[in-house]
Symmetry: C2
Subunit: 217 residues, 2 copies
């Protein structure tokens, strides 16, 4: 039995969405953040050595890391759907954007956030460098989404499922404005119109309106 | 024709190592960091929109992101070797540690480094939290390497190839001491004894002695 352990307002929403897109039979267990510090509660941290979301259990298996869970579910329960196979023309694009999500985009946005907390001034040289890089990363994503409706091409893939959280719910924690990037905003509207995404967000965080606009609310 | 563009003393060493383990026919182009700021030279930044290492070219294809390049080379040029296939017992371990490398380990070590640069004092709360997390991450890696000689089990896989850079060459930029973690140190000695790793490090950075010990030199 697949059980997805979803921490509220966290990147485990990716896996709820994946399960809904794949039409998997899964149990969703929801956990609320602590009210005092917004961190995961002790029972969530106890699930996996890293104590972070997402966590999937499948019989005796306890698996963490978004990228690992995506690949595991797609290959062992999803008949390979939402991945692109070697030899298909969009295979390199699929791989690039799938790995870009947690290899470049997500750590960069977190880095800007932490550096701003410590010293938001112009004298913070690592912060200024990270902000320059932020603009480069978002410009590149903007360009890609002017070429194709989804990151790997014409169809939604797991590359999109890995990427969207950083552009949506994560902005509740690290607010930033997407107005300069109209292609990214149009992409988020396409995502928000998908029935599986709407079901996932409703199941994962029924208290939350998906953060799809230019300015997080 | 496969061409690997290797920026000296950077994570593109992963891909040199992968090519050597797979026995691929590839051209290695080496680029030196700028002497004034240790960043990539303009001709390296021009290769790919992100301007970061690694970059692989294969005919017209220009591909970035370590994880994407690993999967691409293994699946399209390596007959699937050094990956673990769905259904094999170590498939979840393989996926976990492969994605852990750039999803958790590498961004955390960079985060500690940047936060220390801005304010190394005890008053830097994000730094203290990142250091606690650093200890958790290294303890978990230490435990795993007490259970198995390589991250996915008995054999070297791409999960190791993704992970080792953060434990070795990266310590030249962000020095930290591995003495508390004997299993990690024994693992690095096993890696350092592999002929393909030795060839790769000699080809990639002939001026550098692989940083395999407890304290970077």
């Amino acid at each position: 039995m697949l059980t997805l352990h979803h921490l509220g307002h966290s990147q485990s929403e990716r896996i709820v969405w994946l399960c809904e897109e794949l039409g998997l039979d899964y149990e969703l267990k929801r956990y609320q953040r602590r009210s005092d510090n917004r961190l995961a509660p002790p029972e969530y941290k106890a699930l996996h050595p890293m104590g972070t979301a997402p966590v999937l259990t499948d019989g005796d298996l306890v698996l963490g890391e978004s990228g690992a869970i995506c690949e595991y579910l797609i290959q062992t329960h999803g008949n390979g759907r939402l991945a692109v196979k070697p030899g298909e023309p969009s295979f390199p694009d699929y791989l690039y954007w799938f790995h870009f999500a947690n290899g470049t985009l997500q750590p960069l946005v977190l880095q800007v956030r932490y550096l701003e907390r410590v010293d938001p001034s112009d004298k913070n040289a690592p912060l200024q460098a990270a902000k320059d890089r932020f603009n480069l990363v978002f410009s590149t994503l903007e360009k890609r989404l002017g070429e194709a409706p989804y990151l790997a091409g014409n169809e939604l893939t797991a590359a999109d499922i890995m990427t969207v959280f950083t552009l949506t719910t994560m902005r509740l924690f690290k607010p930033y404005d997407l107005s300069p990037w109209p292609n990214i905003l149009a992409y988020l509207q396409r995502i928000g119109a998908r029935p599986a995404y709407r079901r996932a967000m409703q199941k994962a965080d029924p208290d939350l309106t998906p953060v799809l606009g230019a300015v997080p609310k």
